[in-house]
Amino acid sequence: MAESAPGIRPFARARPLREASLLLALALTAAGLSWAVRTPRLPLRADLAVYELDLGFPLVPAAEAVALFLDNACVPVDTRAGAPARRIPGSFALGQETFDDDLREVFDFLSPADPLLVYGDGNLLVAAAVAGRLRERGFTDIRLLQGSLDGWEQAGGEIQTDDVIQAEEGGAGHD
């Protein structure tokens, strides 16, 4: 045993490093494969603004939001500007620029205790800005839909179009 010591010594020292490198390579491969096959794929570079928003309001993944909606456990709030042709059924329109006027129109139909699901065109900065204004007005249960209407639709969420709105309400109003 003693004769082999000079040969063993460098091997023994390098072995943990080689083992760690092997395991790291395995983990990298598994992570890469997982990233490649998983949809929706996480972008390689993060948008930190998205994560900052989460500190203010909980983000709800589309599938979870659809389940809440089906259980009548959320009231959708549409923050998109203008008059979008497609929306979540029963949405209240509260645009960022027209917030005060919009809120005045729908205030009688909303209670500060209502669980609000705020969504927009996928830009969470706008949705969070509207959510912040709602919080200032006393609304306490506010969540942001992660993603946009496309994600909602892909998760099996119902979409209301202008045709339906016009048929039901004679073309008036958004909500």
């Binding site: 092997l22 395991l23 990233w35």
Partner: protein, 156 residues
Amino acid sequence: MTDSAAVGVATGSRWRTIPDWMDLLLRFLVGGTFVYASFDKILDPAGFAQSIAHYRLAPAWLLHPMAMLVPWLELVAGGAMILGFARRGAAWLVILMLAMFMAAIGSAMARGLDISCGCFGTEDAHAVGLSLLLRDLALLAGAVVLAAARATRRSF
């Protein structure tokens, strides 16, 4: 003297031997914790990215790669540790990860951030604090023993 102990002496290294039962216990405790911690994070990398983002340490270019790699590294290192495959290398990886986690937790505590740890996935509501540091310290001690000592007999 067993073969492994003989190698330790012959090479003049600092490796010490520990009883088989202790080796097995430490491997399952430390490795098992890491394997268990990886599951939720692998299934929900976006949620784990949120947990990392709460620490406000990782830059944008590093956040998602970390969220994707760290859980797999936990699984691979923890699994290897349990199986006794590349156990010393696995122990060193675990030590590195624990050092990183402890630095992040300590930094969050120093900055007064009231955030959840995210150690065991996105649903983990354990707040960052001293108890977490002590838990990681205990795991670190176990990993250091595994990295520096050999079992009296070779691992399976």
